[in-house]
């Protein structure tokens, strides 16, 4: 099991924009950490650093005390868009996530995952023949076929309708229970964070910083409609409001006490 450590990570782009400042948190093995925040707070930048697609300007990211240099087979990701390769059929897209697996294992896991994501009969289809939700299921399967130790999720459900989103939350949690990856997910959806995460980091923008950290000590499986869930949502919303009150919002923004995420 891998422990992910982010120590005083900052990212300043070549044009001088400071996207992230002094981000620090650890993710315990198997933990689900949600990064919650509005646009411009560097959530996606942070995720790109974790994925090894970009390098932090300051600070370091370590996996079990070894520094992360570029992409790693231990880390896998689901993006905001499915990003399936349109020239590969569904099964081959899932298999694409298992580059380092022996072919027999890859084929066997692809078959099992197709079953798990409810697309057993869709292996030979092209991605364009699938709905958005189905494509995102395939993207989740692709990310998990290699049994990554760290799974990064960049608002993977944000483009989906509430019905599809809820069913994908269930699918994700099932697969997470089975494979136990550490999950770092970016979201701007309070309910999603509360239902999925063990811990929520509320971020604030310009530059992106961690404003607050909330432990979500609700038992699993979680009930979206339970009053404890509601209370937790309120706690998170209050933290968001505090983060907004601290920040002079660009271009007038929302009046204090009102959260645009509600």
């Amino acid at each position: 099991m891998t422990r992910l450590s982010i120590s005083s990570v900052g990212k300043t782009y070549a044009d001088g924009t400071e996207a992230l400042r002094d981000i620090r948190f650890n993710a315990a093995p198997g933990e689900i950490v949600a990064l919650l925040g509005g646009s411009g707070c560097g959530k996606t930048t942070l995720l790109r650093l974790l994925a090894g697609l970009d390098q932090p300007t300051t600070g370091s990211i370590t996996l079990d005390d070894s520094p992360l240099n570029g992409t790693s087979s231990a880390i896998s990701a689901v993006f905001q868009e499915p990003r399936l390769l349109p020239w590969l059929n569904v099964a081959d897209n899932i298999g694409f996530g298992g580059q380092r697996l022996p072919p027999a294992t890859r084929a066997q896991r692809t078959g099992a995952l197709l079953e798990r994501i409810g697309l057993a009969d869709y292996g030979a289809r092209w991605p364009r023949e699938l709905s958005g939700g189905q494509q995102q299921r395939v993207a989740i399967a692709r990310a998990l076929i290699g049994h990554p130790q760290i799974l990064l999720l960049d608002e993977p459900f944000s483009a989906l309708d509430p019905f599809t989103r809820t069913s994908l939350h269930g699918l994700l949690l099932d697969l997470w229970r089975e494979l136990q990856p550490t999950v770092v997910m970016v979201t701007h959806d309070v309910e999603e964070a509360v239902v999925l995460a063990d811990r929520i980091l509320v971020m604030k923008p310009r530059p992106g910083r961690v404003h607050d950290m909330i432990q979500v000590d609700l038992p699993r499986p979680r009930d979206r409609l339970a009053s404890a869930t509601d209370l937790m949502k309120h706690r998170v919303l209050r933290a968001i409001n505090r983060s907004l009150a601290d920040v002079p919002s660009a271009g007038g923004g929302a009046p204090s006490g009102f959260s645009p995420w509600v």
């Binding site: 090894g52 992409t71 087979s73 868009e81 990003r83 020239w87 580059q99 092209w126 364009r128």
Partner: protein, 256 residues
């Protein structure tokens, strides 16, 4: 109206024109010396085919166009991929290639003839050059416009740069490549005619010149029609060959 196949509508003008022209010549309204009627074109075609002349010309023409196209397309593809994928290669090569492109391709003819002689080599060089530029430019921009997000997928899942080139960049530019080959082939035929008009002892272009000098409009027209048939046939072959590769695309059926 709805029961008439749609493609029949497109035939109305050419078939109508052919019938009218035939009727005009048969009825003596015109002689048809400069604009021979369809039946005379068929006779000319049969005569050329019987004598074996036609086969010689078609063979000569197709050999030139296919070799020239092959060379031009191969070099254009390779250089386009190279400059598209590598910034140093682009900085080094692209300005020179752009400079050469500024010269109208036909302006090379005298130099090609001096360097390569008046026979096959200079003709093939001209065709290859005509095909090269559009394929090169298209590949260069296609490579650069490959979706960065898909490249990132390759990186996240541990592909090496070569793996990314082969498994993401190449399939992503494939549809553009096929389209470039098709337009390159069309240009290849254009430069072929130019090359053959400027001096050839066989080939359909020679047939054009010969028809002009002999005052045989029927020979010219037959050669023109054969050009059209050959061009369309080659294009269709390319599309059919590409079809299994582009099966994943939405639009492939609409392109044919």
């Amino acid at each position: 109206m709805n029961r008439v196949p749609a493609w029949l509508i497109g035939l109305i003008i050419p078939v109508g024109f052919a019938i009218a022209w035939e009727a005009a010549v048969v009825s003596g309204v015109t002689q048809g010396r400069l604009m021979p009627p369809p039946t005379r074109l068929v006779q000319t075609f049969i005569a050329l085919a019987r004598s074996g002349e036609l086969q010689t010309h078609v063979l000569a023409t197709m050999t030139r166009v296919l070799i020239g196209f092959g060379i031009g397309a191969a070099i254009g593809t390779i250089l386009g991929l190279l400059t598209g994928a590598s910034r140093p290669a682009r900085l080094l090569l692209d300005p020179s290639i752009q400079g050469l492109r500024a010269i109208p391709s036909l302006a090379w003819v005298p130099l090609f003839i001096l360097w390569l002689g008046i026979f096959e080599t200079s003709k093939i060089a001209l065709i290859a050059m005509g095909v090269f530029f559009p394929v090169y430019l298209g590949m260069l921009s296609a490579i650069q416009s490959v979706d960065r997000k898909l490249i990132e997928v390759g990186r996240v899942f541990g592909l090496t740069p070569i793996g990314i080139a082969l498994r993401i960049t190449w399939p992503a530019v494939m549809p553009v490549w096929i389209a470039l080959l098709r337009s390159g082939l069309g240009l290849g035929f254009m430069f072929l005619v130019a090359a053959e008009l400027m001096g050839a002892s066989e080939g359909l272009g020679y047939l054009l010149v010969d028809g002009q000098q002999m005052g045989r409009a029927d020979t010219i027209l037959v050669a023109m029609i054969i050009f059209a048939v050959l061009g369309k046939t080659c294009d269709t072959c390319l599309v059919l060959a590409a079809r299994p590769i582009l099966r994943w695309q939405d639009t492939v059926r609409a392109q044919l």
